[in-house]
Amino acid sequence: MALPSRVDLTPAAAELLVKLTKINGPLMFHQSGGCCDGSSPMCYLKGEFRVGGSDVLIGELEIPDLAEAIQVWMSAEQFEYWKHTHLTIDVVIGRGGGFSLESTEGKRFLIRSRLFSNEEWEILRHVQVATGAY
């Protein structure tokens, strides 16, 4: 079995990311925790959010229409509680979410989750995730 992905996209989310990239430039995600707009994937200009040793890179989203993959980050301590679940970034009608870029489109990225299958987890639990440390 190939290395399973930890995070994927719905077609609607991919389409919105292509649009947002055209408007803004290359993008990144940082999965938020906590409070009002939290527990949601925040979409920023690539490099806008400074990641470091306390963050982990959980996936790189390849979208056919985009030249470079979109990195998805999460704080390492949050990942400890999330690592057994597969995430899918979806999009719904909504408004606002911190400084996430999609709000101007009347949209909101949303995480949908499922448990990893035993086969997937057997592989993933041995895989070290990269941090953002220099």
Binding site: S32, G33, G38, W82
Partner: protein, 507 residues
């Protein structure tokens, strides 16, 4: 017919403008872009007005006004500012019903909470900080016979504040009252889900404040919030919201070397020890209500008691009783006084809650009650309603670890004090907690052991001014709701004075 007439209907206490501009320098100012966005009531899902879509130029205009007003406002006496804050409180009190209806209509909360809790607390908050600034003194330290250190409080100048949508008026007032009391001018960015409540309040109190002291710019976070948070022209930024934005705001603040205060949410444990059920009396009844507090404001509270920890011996009985109490929660039109739970604040919030109801089930948590979207029929069918929900599971599940910000409590049992503390502290957050016990020693030890800024002991969800509120761990930095908040909005000026006529003799 609801107890309070909905805005837009004849006879309503609330008449909105069809379109709201920014509030800058004591007047409404059209947005630089000329663009507006639609403002939706979550009660019905319908648009009820339009709001200016701000950008960096609007923020700059607001900062210009604030900087122009700051020197004079900063030199007013604490007495003068206290008089103004008290007048604001009196004016709000005279208009409490209209303000409450406006907040309910924009946020979706039940009117009984807006009318009897949120707005009265906001009113009291102005009075508290009016009193605090009157009573605040600097100090004079006699360091030696000829040397005195004087300490003066000075305002920071112009500060930025970013407000969440769950209590659009109270959260704004928590930040405005100390900032104004301390002599600062403010540029405030409301949440885009609830942009108008604070402008509705401003219309009621606008003649009481000098122009430019409070400026309000609406818009999307990335277009208006970010230029405010990253501006080199603010002396401090205060934010309530979630962790990624909190980090980004700290990052911007580091570029400008300014202080931040952050309130970033929680996953608060609400702990019930065996002795709670020792008798079937008023205290037990109070504890059952304390558990059910997860439904306050539809669970859209940073301190929602979203993890219920019940000691094993009473678990079965307690769960039967709290499930009954939860099932008695009356959902309905938020403008009816008998409604206990209203609408979630927005469609995306509804969707997020539903996504957690989904992962909760997938992880094997058991739905004790609720677990679904609610359709309340009629015009409310378009609104965003969720049934109060109790999950049973374990603390490693994601519904125990993530802030759902909905009317959802995840329950587990524990054996003994140590395990209660272990589960309670097994979280990224440390904002609130609840401890319930008839034994004061147990309650005290638990309260000190839990790593959270606020431990309600034999109570929950009280927010009186005078009790410091803020987070440990990833829940933020700084405190609100207490006179120590003045420190977050003041510089310390030290004059070190020598009264000796003689030189040191070094040179």
């Amino acid at each position: 017919m609801t107890d309070f007439i909905a805005p837009g209907q004849p006879g309503s206490k609330v008449v909105y403008q069809s379109r709201y501009d920014h509030w800058i320098n004591g007047q409404y100012v059209a947005p630089d872009s000329g663009q507006y966005f639609e403002n939706i009531t979550p009660v019905t899902g319908k648009v009820f007005c339009e709001v200016a879509r701000g950008n960096a130029k609007d923020i700059d205009k607001a900062l210009d006004a604030a900087h122009a007003a700051a020197p004079a406002w900063g030199k007013t006496s604490g007495t003068e500012r206290a008089i103004i804050l008290n007048k604001i409180a009196d004016r709000m009190e005279a208009n409490v019903e209209a303000i409450a209806v406006a907040e309910t209509w924009e946020n979706g909360k039940p009117i009984r909470e807006a009318l009897y809790v949120d707005i009265p607390l906001a009113i009291d908050h102005f009075r508290y900080f009016a009193a605090a600034i009157r009573a605040q003194e600097g100090s004079a330290g006699e360091l030696d016979h000829d040397t005195v250190a004087y300490h003066f409080h000075e305002p920071l100048g112009v500060v930025g504040q970013i407000i969440p949508w769950n209590f659009p008026i109270l959260m704004a007032v928590w930040k405005l009252a100390p900032a104004l009391a301390a002599g600062n001018c403010v540029v405030l960015k409301p949440a885009e889900q609830t942009p108008v409540s604070i402008l509705f309040l401003m219309d009621i109190i606008k003649d009481l404040l000098p122009d430019g002291v409070v400026n309000i710019v609406n818009g999307f976070g990335v277009e208006a919030g970010k230029p405010l948070a990253s501006s080199p022209r603010i002396a401090k930024i205060a934010f309530t919201g979630e962790t990624s934005t909190g980090r980004l705001i700290m990052q911007y603040a580091s570029e400008n070397i300014i202080p931040v205060t952050l309130e970033l949410g929680g996953k608060s444990p609400n702990i019930f020890f065996n002795d709670v059920a020792a008798e079937n009396d008023a205290f037990y009844d109070k504890a059952l209500e304390g558990f059910t507090m997860f439904a306050v404001n539809q669970g859209e509270v940073c301190t929602c008691p979203s993890r219920g920890l019940i000691e094993a011996k009473i678990y079965d009985k307690f769960m039967v009783d709290v499930t009954g109490r939860t099932n008695a929660i009356k959902m309905g039109h938020p403008l009816d006084l008998s409604t206990m739970m209203g609408a979630q604040a927005s469609n995306d919030q509804l969707e997020k809650i539903l996504s957690y109801l989904d992962i909760g089930r997938k992880e094997g948590a058991k739905v004790i009650t609720g677990g679904e979207r609610a359709d309340l029929g009629g015009e409310l069918s378009g609104g965003y309603y969720v049934m109060p929900t109790i999950f049973e599971g374990n603390n490693k599940m994601r519904i125990f670890q993530e802030e759902i910000f909905g009317p959802v409590v995840s329950v587990t049992k524990f054996d003994g004090f140590d395990q209660a503390m272990e589960i309670a502290n097994d979280t990224l957050y440390g904002l609130g907690a609840g401890v319930w016990s008839r034994d004061i020693n147990t309650a005290y030890r638990a309260g000190r052991e839990i790593k959270a800024g606020r431990v309600w002991t034999n109570c929950y969800h009280a927010y009186p001014a005078g009790a410091a509120f803020g987070g440990y761990k990833s829940s933020g930095i700084g405190r609100e709701n207490h006179k120590m908040m003045l420190d977050h909005y003041q510089q310390t000026k030290n004059l070190l004075v020598s009264y000796s006529p003689n030189k040191l003799g070094f040179f």
